[in-house]
Amino acid sequence: MSRQLETLKVADLLARWPFTEQHLADNGHAEIADRPEISLTELLDSEQLVNLDGFIGMMEDFLGSNEEKVSEITITGGRAKDGSDEPVQELTVKVGDVVCIVGPTGSGKSRLLADIEWVARGDTPTGRHVTINGQVPDDKWRFSSEYKLVAQLSQNMNFVMDLTVEEFLALHAESRQASDPEEKIQRIWNWANGLAGEPFALDTPVTSLSGGQSRALMIADTAVLSASPVVLIDEIENAGIDRQQALDILIREEKIVLMATHDPILALMGDKRVIINNGAMQKVIEPSADERANLTELRALDAKLMKLRHRLRMGERLDQI
């Protein structure tokens, strides 16, 4: 048996794999936590030990504790909609990269993201291949876990659970079996408040957060608690949050950030832009020096709009802008 469970005591088991307590309780060993010194061989017969070992293996796959860290993803080009070769034949994105994906509706942005999520191996309509850390990944990326390669944030997403911010984050932390959940909850809450501008309390119900507050909480929560190494941000330009800070948080938490956006500020904040058309990656461009310089002006415009918004909220008139 790979984990040598037969040599362990209950206390060792629960310390290493806390989720086994519930599993054992479900299988008729409800009070094991009260008997930490008893050895597992006294508690379980050999078949039950094998089952427990299998359960731990499945949970580890599920929680990602067996996974090697994803540090880069490479997309190898396939075919365009008309069957011609995809102009961009290789695109590698690394942890900390911010990549914008631009193109008209129906141009194939969603398919590109779906190819990444499904870790395509030439078996999707585009014929693309996706590798992780330079290796052809196995099936576990498709099936073994609930968290996939890609976490998504979009304008249409809402909170639907009837819980406070704190309860909500605790539930997410629990389902991820996160270590030190209190610290993570505090961190997410602080970051989200920094992003949103309008502060909210830990006991605010998630369903009564404003659009900006919701987006801020989703971003901070995804950064800290989601296991997916890639975060896709889909059209969140008007969210009323500090966009630079949002990207900084995701980068600090070692995410690969993909943004489907046509917001000029977001697009220029990215390290590169992938141009999609006719179902294929046409070009990868990096912002030019002139574009970067324009970012300053765009930010000033944006700050001005934010200020006007704030004045409206405070009941002022906008006769003078």
Binding site: F55, M58, M59, F62, S110, A114, W118, D123, T124, P125, R142, F143, S145, E146, Y147, K148, A151, Q152, L153, S154, N156, M157, N158, F159, V160, M161, F168, L169, L171, H172, S175, R176, S214, M218, D221, T222, L225, S226, A227, S228
Partner: protein, 246 residues
């Protein structure tokens, strides 16, 4: 012919997922068909027909819909063979959460949606527990955290199933599901095969048309609730064993 059983709570998006998934197989030149099971009414057969999918529907009416399903499934498989289908899908709603149409050796899919509440995976029982593939829908409108929590809850109930997210409106994820419907064994008949889970014991006077209320009119498989809970004890209000609600 490849045969797939799809189940799931009402309005979870079964029909939309099936249509989007079969579309990919149709594009590959395959003949596809659906048998839709429902209780009192459905017009989903029209929807299937509009999408070029051969369809038959069965309304259980006064009968238990899952018993109706299992009494007709072999005939449905024979219909599919006669129509020269490459893929036949049976669609049925799990209505009392106690039954499951899933058959041993036949690919079993359960569709469940993110909006249904985080305790739903625990509540819906065998149709989720006995599934090979669990499809989670409506992921586009809830947060990433809720998707992760919900999928974790599904995993706790059925840790062996493959969990996929499919969007019934945009079709996102349906191509991926369709690949899993191409790699299954052919089925000529389900005669002699077994259900993965037995249907509930339910033979009381009400099954036979009784409408009057009162102990005098109750015969057969009847069981009384235990209402004498000590005060202050938290209870979920029902027995934990099966066989009570049908």
């Amino acid at each position: 012919m490849r045969f797939v059983t799809v189940s799931g709570p009402p309005s979870s998006g079964k029909t939309a997922v099936i249509i989007k998934t079969l579309e990919h197989l149709q594009k590959a030149g395959q003949q596809v068909g659906v048998v839709k099971f429902d209780c009192l009414f459905t017009d989903d057969d029209e929807l299937y027909r509009k999408n070029g999918i051969k369809v038959r529907k069965g309304l259980a009416g006064a009968l238990c819909p899952d018993h109706y399903f299992v009494s007709n499934v072999e005939e449905c498989v024979q219909w599919g063979q006669m129509e020269n289908l490459n893929v036949l899908v049976s669609e049925s709603a799990g209505l009392c959460n106690r039954c499951s149409p899933h058959i041993r050796e036949i690919l079993a899919v359960c569709v469940i949606d993110n909006l249904s509440g985080i305790n739903t995976p625990k509540k819906i029982g065998p149709m989720l527990k006995a599934a090979d593939i669990v499809i989670i829908t409506k992921g586009d409108i809830v947060s990433q955290a809720e998707r992760e929590v919900f999928a974790a809850r599904v995993h706790m109930v059925n840790s062996k199933a493959r969990i996929l997210h499919v969007n019934g409106i945009t079709g996102q994820g349906s191509f991926e599901l369709s690949t899993l419907w191409t790699e299954i064994e052919e089925t000529e008949t389900v005669e002699g095969k077994r259900l993965r889970f037995s249907m509930p014991a339910a033979l009381c006077s009400y099954c036979l048309g009784e409408t009057r209320i009162g102990s005098d009119f109750q015969m057969g498989n009847v069981r009384k609730m235990d209402l004498e809970m000590p005060t202050g004890v938290k209870t979920d209000g029902g027995p934990t064993d099966l066989g009570s609600n049908t």
